[in-house]
């Protein structure tokens, strides 16, 4: 009965390798920790950047966890779980991608230690789940506070916190103001449900070479990275009536399967003219409706350009469809993909036009941009970033995107927590107390979970070249007091000040993070750690040989 477990390993007929038991768990954990070590040094306001060079030679300089991990071509399956984790956090929250990976790896490392000390993996897993649930509950009830308490300033502070670690950190006063304003401009209230959303995708972030970061600007309107189709067109139109078209204004071509056969050379000319006339009639209809700005995703023939120029209208070709959709929304235009109406005729109605106060083509650095100001249906916003070189601009774009995500989360969920390791330290103290109330084996796992959370303040202070042991001990002492003595509960906002290397009230100092980001990162990290801890067997199959070959040739 018992012997069958042993010695059968080599007999298992597989075209691949199999690793089982503790060795695979440790191997997985090592891989995960290796991933976390890569991004560790980029955490926090004093975190450093990574330079990544891919096989083509493109350079990326970044501080964003998700971007770093995406660029690494990770092979190990367990490490891939962590990379996916960062990407998930990026999609769901947009910020906190580095910390989620670090926490997950720490959970794995400590869990693996417990298992090596003969605690059963399922006990560890149960403990982690329990701790995660308890932590999230405590965080939501005790450690978060509503935005209304501090008003708009809290939004700016949250944006600043997210920027502080990035390249735009030194100019965060300038950028946080810009980001908050941009987000507020794209506020959408759903007329049916009354729900307010902030589709930050609608904020167009453009990059332009030259000048310095401080010369970046926010445009209350839409900036379109295109130019007018020909020189003769006006470069500025007040009181614009905009037609957004999703088809080309080119000579009509017949469909496949229709061939034009002419046997009389005179008719040839007529056919050519007709090809042009079909478009001409369309343009006439659009102009007759009163349009003076025509944006199209397709092309415009030179012949047609003449018509626009003569009518004094501005024509822009090859706009991106995504841009057109946003412009249509902002100006109240209808994105039209065909002029056909329900009678089978072609018409263009004035109601399909959008309105804006002014459309102007402006020169910014080397490029010309078309800027739409004073859109009628909805406010729009665009950010034009300026910077010395491409890599810097790219990183600025990512940083601004992160901050936009943060501001949006804060606005939508309406709750904040104090940053700078405050939450992690508080949860650590709370969970350790909670662990002692458990009389089962899970106690150990909950305690380790608490320990794992401390990795955030530890890494923060280590990155800032401070004594992490000292600082974290101080920090925990504050939180212990806060949780023991209800009179001292204001101490629960205590977090790290990394500039001076001291503990301070981070709520007062304005270091905020959206509560939702913290909750999600704890949940995601736990789930990822559990997924990996449960594995006790790795079967790696060989690549299938293209030609049959000798498969048993081991």
């Amino acid at each position: 009965l018992i012997q069958m477990a042993t010695g059968a390993e080599s007999i298992l007929a597989l075209t691949g390798r199999r690793t089982t038991g503790q060795s695979i768990r440790s191997q997985n954990v090592t891989a995960a920790v290796a991933i976390a070590n890569i991004v560790k040094s980029s955490l926090g306001p004093v975190g450093l950047d990574k330079m990544l060079v891919d096989d083509v030679g493109d350079v990326i300089i970044t501080n964003d966890g998700a971007t770093i991990l995406k660029q690494l071509e990770v092979e190990h399956p367990a490490a891939k779980v962590l990379v996916e984790l960062a990407q998930l956090q990026d999609e769901e929250v947009g910020d906190g991608t580095t910390s989620v990976v670090i926490v997950a790896a720490e959970l794995l490392k400590l869990g693996d230690e417990l298992i090596k000390n003969k605690l059963h993996p399922t006990t560890v897993i149960n403990g982690y789940r329990l701790a995660c649930k308890e932590a999230v509950k405590y965080l939501q009830e005790n450690l978060s506070f509503p935005v209304e308490e501090l008003g708009r300033q809290s939004l700016i502070n949250a944006a600043k916190t997210s920027m502080s670690s990035k390249i735009i950190g030194p100019d965060m006063d300038f950028f946080s103001e810009m980001v908050v304003e941009a987000t507020e401009l794209v506020k959408v209230t759903d007329s049916a449900t009354g729900k307010i959303t902030y589709p930050i995708k609608a904020i167009n972030v453009l990059k332009a070479h030259g000048k310095s970061a401080r010369e970046s600007m926010l445009i209350k309107g839409y900036a379109l990275n295109c130019t007018v189709a020909c020189q003769g067109m006006p470069l500025q139109i007040k009181d614009a009536k905009i037609a957004c078209l999703d088809f080309s204004l080119q000579k009509a071509k017949m469909h496949l399967g229709i061939s034009v056969v002419v046997d009389d050379p005179v008719k040839l000319e007529a056919i050519r003219r007709e090809e042009f006339d079909i478009v001409k009639r369309r343009i006439e209809k659009i102009l007759a409706a009163g349009a003076n700005v025509i944006l199209t995703s397709g092309g415009i023939d030179d012949l047609c350009l003449k018509m626009f120029t003569e009518a004094g209208a501005m024509g822009v070709r090859r706009c991106k469809k995504a841009d057109l959709k946003r412009i249509a929304k902002a100006t109240g235009a209808t994105l039209t993909c065909s002029l056909a109406n329900l009678e089978g005729e072609e018409t263009f109605d004035a109601t399909q036009l959008g309105h804006a106060d002014e459309i102007v083509q402006q020169r910014i650095s080397d490029d010309e941009l078309i800027i739409i100001r004073g859109t009628k249906a909805r406010t729009a916003s665009s950010i034009i970033l300026r910077g010395a070189n491409d890599t810097m601009l790219d990183e600025m774009e990512r940083s601004v995107h992160d901050s936009l995500c943060v501001v949006r989360r804060v606005l939508e969920s309406g709750r904040l927590v104090a940053g700078g390791g405050a939450v992690e330290a508080a949860l650590n103290v709370y969970l350790e107390a909670f662990a002692t109330t458990l009389s089962s084996r899970e106690q150990l796992a909950v305690a380790e979970f608490a320990q794992a959370l401390l990795v955030i303040p530890k890494t923060l202070s280590a990155n800032a070249a401070r004594d992490s042991t000292d600082l974290v001990a101080k920090l925990r002492a504050f939180h212990h007091k806060a949780q023991q003595n209800s009179k001292l509960s204001h101490l629960k906002w205590a977090g790290l000040d990394l500039e001076s290397g001291e503990v301070r009230d981070n709520k007062e100092a304005g270091i905020f993070e959206p509560a939702m980001s913290k909750v999600k990162s704890i949940k995601f990290a736990t789930e990822a750690a559990i997924t990996i801890l449960r594995i006790d067997d790795l079967i790696k199959l060989d690549k299938e040989e293209p030609r049959g070959g000798d498969q048993c040739g081991a």
Partner: protein, 530 residues
């Protein structure tokens, strides 16, 4: 590191005549290979079982606890090892759960058979004794089972929970178990009470959020986006049409050409196309339809830009690329008839619902949710969420298992206690009965009984308990007539599993023993590999 198992057989081949030694070694190598497979999945048995991570040749990773999935992904080469893979597949199809158990039992039986062979008992004798023992085991199981009433929801939820306990999603069993029960009950067909068509339960997986956010929809889910183009994304009082024809310009045959020789005809050609599409759209509108589902089409664009434009103007929501296989499901759940030609667009073919709405599932993911369906057929949809692809896929497999377990109960309405209790009970009773038998049969029945004890043994082992201690204690309890005692993994000792609410359907254990013994018999009968 690949099998050298058949090498013994090869050396026998050279002698070119059948001798007893050769058939013995073939049998032996078969058994060893099959046992190795059983051993590979043994650690994933039970609530404290672990997961396997399998990386396929092209780098795809699967993390799973499901026996059938593990074996399927492992791509074993040895022919008898493959038989075990097939065995677990068969269990998956028939019962849906217990795919690990069946392989573990088969492995144990093979081990027992090997020892009996050494003793000099003829393979045929073993094989036939095993068959009789299995039949006897079935009777024993039947006797210890308790009938169950399908209206007892609480009992069913417990059952689904037992099946989910061994999976990575076990902490969400409070959510998934009732979900599985409700889903199966919804699709239960009154006219055919002995079976359930699980195809009528559509599970849609979407990345993002955690498993907790999964939900069962009282209505239909469609894993597609609306086509947009200014068309509505939310329709109240919807009239839904499911069409199987295309809304795009008709194509001429390859050889044929439309020939235009006059300029006036050019504009007409364009107009005709518009008119043709417009007529189709008008016909759709006339029937009162305001939500249009279009079947995926390979030959022609299912829907052209122009017709989308028309439909958007008519305020009709358009969803394209409905898979052909799903047509039946959707027509069932939405209560509409698939329409193959525009001429058949009549109001009677449409399904009606209170609300059709496109909802965002985070990131770019979107699904279409149909709620408040009138005259809905027996079909439900489940939206599964998970924080990464691996968890999501495993959640899908686990939910499928839970659904199967409930289905088993519909097929055969009896319950057994879980935690290895039925296996131990069968082992005890068989051992008693063995004494009534004579000759080699007695030996074989004893071996059969011993082999079944591997299930509680493994459960205890995986849970970090002392297997010898647990199994002997369990044996003692069963000898004293406590048939419901099993390994209580959570408490770490032997208790009455029925009181602990750990239950499993009779069909799973029933099938597992039957199929495992059949598989073992066929392996025993092989005496040559060519």
């Amino acid at each position: 590191p690949v099998a050298q198992a058949p090498s013994a057989a090869k050396s026998g081949k050279d002698t070119n005549f059948k001798d007893k030694e050769k058939s013995g070694s073939v049998r032996n190598s078969n058994i060893v290979a099959a046992k190795a497979v059983a051993d590979a999945v043994r650690t994933s048995l039970g609530p404290r079982g672990m997961d396997k991570m399998i990386q396929s040749g092209n780098g795809d990773v699967t993390i799973t606890n499901d026996g059938a999935t593990i074996l399927n992904q492992m791509s074993v080469i040895h022919p008898t090892a493959k038989m075990l893979v097939e065995l677990s597949k068969a269990q998956d199809i028939e019962a849906g759960d217990g795919t690990t158990t069946v392989v573990v039992i088969a492995g144990a039986l093979l081990d027992a058979a090997q020892k009996l062979l050494v003793k000099g008992i003829h393979p045929t004798a073993i094989s036939e004794s095993f068959q009789r023992a299995a039949t006897q085991a079935e009777t024993i199981l039947q006797n210890m089972a308790t009938p169950i009433d399908l209206s007892n929801d609480e009992q069913l939820v417990k059952l689904a929970t037992t099946s989910l306990n061994s999976k990575v999603v076990s902490q969400h069993s409070w959510l998934l178990a009732p979900m599985a029960v409700n889903a199966v009950k919804k699709v239960l067909d009154e006219s055919r009470p002995d079976n359930v068509d699980l195809k009528a339960i559509k599970i849609i997986k979407k990345m993002g959020d955690t498993v907790e956010e999964s939900e069962m929809i009282e209505g239909a889910l469609i894993d597609q986006k609306t086509m947009g183009r200014g068309g509505p994304t939310r329709v109240e009082k919807a009239k839904i049409a499911l069409i199987q024809f295309q809304l795009s310009a008709p194509k001429t045959d390859m050889e044929n050409q439309v020939i235009i020789s006059d300029y006036a005809q050019m504009d007409r050609a364009l107009k005709e196309e518009r008119q043709y599409l417009l007529d189709l759209c008008k016909q759709i509108k006339k029937s009162g339809c305001n939500v249009l589902l279009i079947q995926k089409s390979i030959l022609r664009d299912a829907v052209s830009e122009l017709s989308l434009h028309f439909l958007a103007k008519m305020k009709i929501m358009v969803v394209k690329d409905i898979e052909r296989d799903d047509i039946e499901f959707y027509s069932n759940i939405l209560g509409c008839r698939p329409i193959a030609s525009a001429d058949h667009m009549v109001a009677e073919s449409l399904g009606s619902a209170d609300l059709v709405e496109e909802i965002s599932t985070g990131g770019d993911g979107k699904v279409i949710k149909v709620t408040g369906i009138q005259s809905s057929g027996p079909a439900v949809s489940i939206l599964l969420r998970g924080s990464n692809k691996l968890v999501l896929e495993e959640a899908d497999r686990s939910l499928h298992d839970a659904l199967c377990v409930i289905r088993c109960l519909v097929k055969k309405r009896f319950l057994l206690p879980g935690g290895g209790a039925p296996e131990m009970e069968v082992a005890c009773k068989l051992r008693e009965k063995a004494n009534e038998r004579g000759g080699a049969e007695q030996y074989c029945w004893r071996a059969f009984a011993d082999a079944l004890e591997l299930v509680p043994y493994t459960l205890a082992e995986n849970a970090g308990l002392s297997p010898i201690h647990t199994v002997t204690e369990l044996r003692r309890q069963h000898a004293n007539g406590h048939a419901n005692y099993g390994v209580n993994v959570r408490k770490g000792f032997v208790t009455d599993m029925k009181e602990e609410n750990v239950v499993q359907p009779l069909l799973v254990s029933h099938n597992a023993i039957k199929q495992a013994s059949e598989c073992v018999r066929s392996i025993l009968k092989i005496d040559d590999i060519v």
